[in-house]
Symmetry: C2
Subunit: 178 residues, 2 copies
Amino acid sequence: MAKRAYPLGKVYALLEPGPVLLLATAGQDRPNVMTLSWQMPMEFEPPRVGIVLSDRDYSHGLLKASRECSLNIPTAELIDQVVAVGNCSGRDTDKFRACGLTPRPARLVAAPLVRECYASLECRVADTRMVNRYGLFVLEVVQAWVDTAVKAPRTLHHRGRGVFMVAGEVIRTASRMQ
Amino acid sequence: MAKRAYPLGKVYALLEPGPVLLLATAGQDRPNVMTLSWQMPMEFEPPRVGIVLSDRDYSHGLLKASRECSLNIPTAELIDQVVAVGNCSGRDTDKFRACGLTPRPARLVAAPLVRECYASLECRVADTRMVNRYGLFVLEVVQAWVDTAVKAPRTLHHRGRGVFMVAGEVIRTASRMQ
């Protein structure tokens, strides 16, 4: 994927349609990666993103400790890797290796980026006050990378219990919504 | 739309794919409705949902005052109504009437449901501590209604600036993710 630096002010629009994400963290011994769907934009610029992680997820502790992660957006051709990532734990597995994904160095954070994804967002944890109660981390996106050759990304959207919807037809309207 | 009572434990899966929502509130003189895409599940059961509303949105004040709303999920045939709702304000407009939508009484909350939507969730505000800082309301869904005849809802997903993606192909996998 030939990703280029992408304007931070446009990041919300990558997340707003609700794609499944791959969240990557730096670990003590090796990096880790998990699937994540409970995410939403919270601010346009600087871009803030809310994510909810169960404290049973291995990445929850890694994110709390390192305070950095990357959010990576896979497309439909990565469905097998996404399912594989969701079906094992970083506690006992090198998930990047086991699931056929490639960690790449980020620019501003220690967490790796996922090379195979068409978009990658480098994030720092901006607020942990809702972590204990809700598992809610507020992230700030500090650097974004997008393969802008991908015009209509066939993102994956989880409908629960392993059923995914793939992004379909595009409608352009005269909406004045940002 | 022939909507029926729907199990609360399955509500997260309606929201997790990231559809555009119509948020309806009871107003002093008339009900109001707005479009909303910054939403995510926060808990399976009882279902909690996080939503972010700008304090410039008229509904922000109505929700803060009434502490109740409905979240309604439109499908692609409602694109004109969704765009119309996004392009006017309840400050000076009866948006239900102006946009061709029908308010229907809810069971447990004073906010109306949107009849034309295939799913409607009755919600109470559960936590306002992040409203001033982030515009984040934590809602609890107390009653859900779904037209279960709609098997693969062609939901709308906003990519920013009036560009919508329509839910496409479905992939069933052996994922063990909930």
